[in-house]
Symmetry: C2
Subunit: 191 residues, 2 copies
């Protein structure tokens, strides 16, 4: 498991049961059908979305080109960071790629707990740390790897993505054209 995720799990397991119970009150489960948008540009991201079941992605438009920034699976947390932190309208879509079950953690109610219990703020901080390092590593991949290497790295880290998603979305996540991704794939299977 990712060491940052492990760190968060450990910390939440060590939470005093009373706090944990209060925390769970803030959680609201919800289902979305395939293709539904959990967030759209212009909306304020008012919650963390913890994925229980299914796959989702975050993407934005650059002109006519879709850029997929994140793909979420079980236990991942989907959030539009800038919009969430500053509570201002964002510019991304969060989309259900399959039937989806999520736990919604409301911003306002969560923040109250954050101020009531330092442990909860710590947990919140750990999430942000995970995000920051995740982005740093992803940036590094773009700065040091070519398209094939990024594909290989993804294949290794998230084989699920490759198995279940159409090339369009994988290509947009790797920031290459779908034609290029197709060629990378055919070259790899032929070797």
């Amino acid at each position: 498991m990712n060491p940052y995720i492990k760190r968060i799990k450990d910390a939440s397991n060590q939470l005093n049961p009373e706090i944990f119970a209060e925390l769970e009150e803030v959680f609201v489960d919800k289902k979305f059908s395939k293709g539904a948008y959990l967030l759209r540009p212009g909306q304020i991201c008012s919650s963390h979305l913890l994925i229980k079941e299914g796959i989702a992605r975050k993407f934005y438009f650059n002109g006519h080109k879709e850029i997929t920034t994140e793909i979420y699976f079980h236990d991942d947390v989907a959030v539009s960071l800038d919009s969430y932190i500053m509570q201002k309208p964002g510019d991304v879509f969060i989309e259900a790629l399959t039937e989806l079950e999520v736990t919604i953690i409301d911003y306002g109610r969560f923040h109250k707990l954050t101020h009531k219990y330092p442990e909860v703020m710590m947990l919140d901080k750990m999430f942000i740390e995970y995000y920051a390092v995740w982005f740093e590593q992803r940036l590094k991949e773009f700065q040091t790897m070519d398209a094939s290497q990024r594909y290989l790295s993804l294949l290794e880290k998230e084989p699920k993505i490759i198995r279940f998603l159409p090339v369009t979305i994988i290509a947009s996540f790797l920031n290459v054209s779908l034609e290029t991704l197709s060629r990378i794939r055919s070259k790899m299977t032929s070797e």
Copy 2:
């Protein structure tokens, strides 16, 4: 001013004077001469480095190629995030590009305060949030802009970088070859 920086400044100004005083005790000033390394690969990043005077950068080697990830000026905070958070050896250099004065905020002593005062943890969290969003935006630039656009964007946001630093370093920050950067520049001045 960057809204995240403003947010941090506002919060630290609202800090109760007693806490502020305790916080200042943790601060230690230090000078470095041009070319000195404040951090090297293999070392654990055990402090935040707040730049008081001068310019610094963070970089790492990818094979023989240097990649500059950040360039720091007055009031910026230099830290190797992954190494700092997990307190494990990192793989980056932090280098003084000029004569440099920094305020060192020691990890251990700062963390004690973080647990003593929720306000301080909040401040710490805000720093991480700033970092996370900074990385997200930088990633976006690589995904949506070509070399000239990245140069223009840097010129606009950080004209100081362009004025005071050699092409080698700017090029490595923009992730282009120095030759390409040189051509971009000559094309721009001729137009």
